[in-house]
């Protein structure tokens, strides 16, 4: 059942041009960044050769790209998630799902799994760029794997937050704007913590950015992974609650 809904969600993304455009735009921007970064690497390479313990290609070229990718996707993921539930509500097709023999949990997990398919494809395509460097040089594949996991977790939590905000309204624009606001807030929330000079505060822990940075640098920390899984579980739980509540009071 979950897979049926997931497949439907995934294919409906690609039935509209939106998914294709999103993939193309991200790929173009990051491709450009990638080339610029390689150019940069050529310039500083002679200096690096004289130093000891220098950062490798993976650190210099790839990590910055995925830090940038995270920021771009923060702006773009709301556009992917906005239609998931808001559109079904608007077109009243949600009634089909409510009256079908599936539970709300299956419905929400199905929607989320569909988004995960899309995220995996998106991240996979981005990973192709660094992997192309394998033709000419050796890469730290462990770090690449860490980056891959980092992106999946980050985008997964974006998707869960977006799914929840999409369940609150039947207006896609409102869903997109509020998702964007929520993500940005979680992104910059640690600025306050920084200025307070307390790097261990709860506010710092809440920041999406902090956890992402550590993972992109290749450090897979239980704290960071747990943070993302908590965010995902929390927002999926809220979505289920919200949809259940919809049946109680329209």
């Amino acid at each position: 059942m979950i897979l049926t809904i997931a497949r439907r969600e995934f294919s409906s993304m690609f039935l509209s041009p939106l998914a294709w455009v999103i993939l193309a735009v991200i790929q173009a921007i990051l491709g450009y960044m990638f080339l610029a970064q390689i150019e940069n690497f050529y310039i500083i390479q002679p200096q690096l050769a004289h130093l000891q313990n220098t950062p490798g290609v993976t650190d210099i070229i790839i990590a910055p790209i995925f830090s940038l990718a995270a920021i771009i996707l923060l702006m773009i993921m709301p556009l992917v998630t906005m239609r998931t539930l808001a559109e079904e509500k608007k077109n009243r097709t949600i009634n089909l799902l409510f009256s079908a023999p599936i539970s709300i949990t299956q419905l929400v997990l199905g929607k989320f799994t569909g988004l995960l398919f899309f995220i995996t494809i998106l991240t996979g395509m981005l990973m192709l760029m660094p992997l192309s460097l394998l033709l000419g040089t050796a890469l730290d594949l462990g770090k690449l794997l860490a980056i891959f996991i980092a992106m999946l977790l980050l985008l997964g939590s974006f998707a869960a937050i977006g799914l929840y905000l999409s369940s609150l309204t039947d207006n896609q624009t409102i869903a997109a704007v509020s998702t964007f606001g929520a993500l940005l807030m979680l992104w910059i929330i640690d600025w306050v913590g920084d200025s307070l000079g307390d790097s261990q505060s709860v506010i710092n822990y809440l920041s999406l950015l902090k956890h992402h940075q550590a993972l992109v640098e290749g450090v897979i920390n239980t704290t960071d992974v747990a943070y993302y899984l908590l965010i995902i579980t929390l927002f999926l739980g809220l979505t289920i609650r919200q949809l259940d509540g919809d049946r109680l009071q329209h």
Partner: protein, 329 residues
């Protein structure tokens, strides 16, 4: 996944009551949309749900289908309580909401395949189920077209196909003929009749001839309360009136007519026509004989059946909300 299907068959053999609704209520804020409604639907019955706009028809149907939760009351479908066993209960229902829940970006076949999967039809049986649903609803020609490009009538048919694709014992159709042309309406009515042969149908409408044409039993709902529950024939019989319209070329005084034995009241329609209500069985004969005798020159005599429409208007506008319980069909 298989177990509920098996028990469903057992249950349908045991229970002849497919849908049982007990003391169902639903509030929207302070407004009481459905007020303590109870009824049953038996196997092979087509039940018409009548009522003016905003009477609570759609709300009741949505609650039976599980897309709205009731504020109070119990719904049992084919022996499964909708709250305790929602999955099993919903497997026994096909539902067409007021707006057909179709995805405009899918073709008819893609959409029906998705619905078949949602209703847990086995993979190997999906194409047969599709075939049957298409035939039932006359969708063969448009199977490869995008639903968004189809006319309203065809979209409605796709909605009905979706409701019957898993061959549920109970089919619930919320205003299935809205927006269709007369030929399509006739086809849909035929389809509903066919459905009623081997399964139960609940049909909501505010079109009265539709009820007469398709339903075995009628329930009239008004401001959330059931005000009438009885067979369609019963409703028709109530309408056979004790009223006559008579026209005279040489009309007598109204008082003379009122003095006729058995006459209850006389209303002037125009100079020559009067409407008479009466209570004795042979009033018409008396009237004709008296007319001939007195030279009133009676030239027109029409029995007046108050139509279903009159009864409907009477029931839904009168202030007394006492339920008139007709003989259950």
């Amino acid at each position: 996944m298989d177990t509920p299907t098996d028990t469903r068959n057992d249950h349908s053999r045991q229970h002849t009551t497919l849908v049982a609704v007990e003391n169902l209520s639903r509030r929207y804020g302070d407004a009481l949309a459905v007020d303590n409604v109870s009824f049953e639907l038996r196997k092979g019955e087509v039940l018409g749900f009548l009522g003016p706009n905003g009477a609570g028809k759609s709300t009741t149907m949505q609650m039976i289908c599980g897309s709205l939760a009731p504020s109070a009351g119990q719904i049992t479908i084919n022996g499964f309580d909708l709250l305790d066993k929602p999955i099993e209960a919903k497997m026994n229902i096909g539902y067409l909401p007021e707006n057909p829940p179709v995805y405009r970006e899918l073709t008819v076949d893609e959409y029906l395949t998705y619905c078949a999967r949602l209703h847990r039809i086995e993979r190997s049986k999906i194409s047969a189920a599709l075939q049957q649903a298409r035939e039932h609803c006359g969708l063969g020609e448009v199977r490869q077209r995008l639903i968004g490009n189809l006319s309203k009538g065809y979209q409605q048919r796709v909605g009905i196909a979706q409701a019957i694709i898993h061959q549920p014992p109970v089919v619930i159709l919320d205003e299935p003929t809205v927006g269709l042309d007369p030929i399509q309406i006739r086809e849909i009515r035929e389809l509903i009749k066919t459905l009623g042969e081997d399964r139960s149908v609940i049909l909501s409408t505010h079109i009265l001839p539709e009820v007469q044409a398709t339903c075995d039993r009628v329930q009239i709902i008004k401001r959330g309360q059931l005000v009438y529950n009885g067979s369609t024939e019963e409703l028709g019989r109530q309408g056979q009136g004790n009223r006559l319209q008579a026209a005279f070329a040489n009309p007598p005084e109204a008082s003379l007519l009122a003095q006729l034995p058995g006459c209850v009241s006389v209303d002037n329609v125009d100079g020559q026509r009067v409407t008479l209500s009466f209570e004795s069985a042979d009033f018409a004969r008396t009237l004709v004989e008296t007319s001939v005798h007195n030279g009133w020159q009676l030239y027109e005599l029409i029995p007046q059946n108050s139509s279903l429409e009159d009864i409907f208007v009477e029931l839904t506008t009168s202030d007394s909300a006492a339920t008139r319980q007709g003989e259950a069909a």
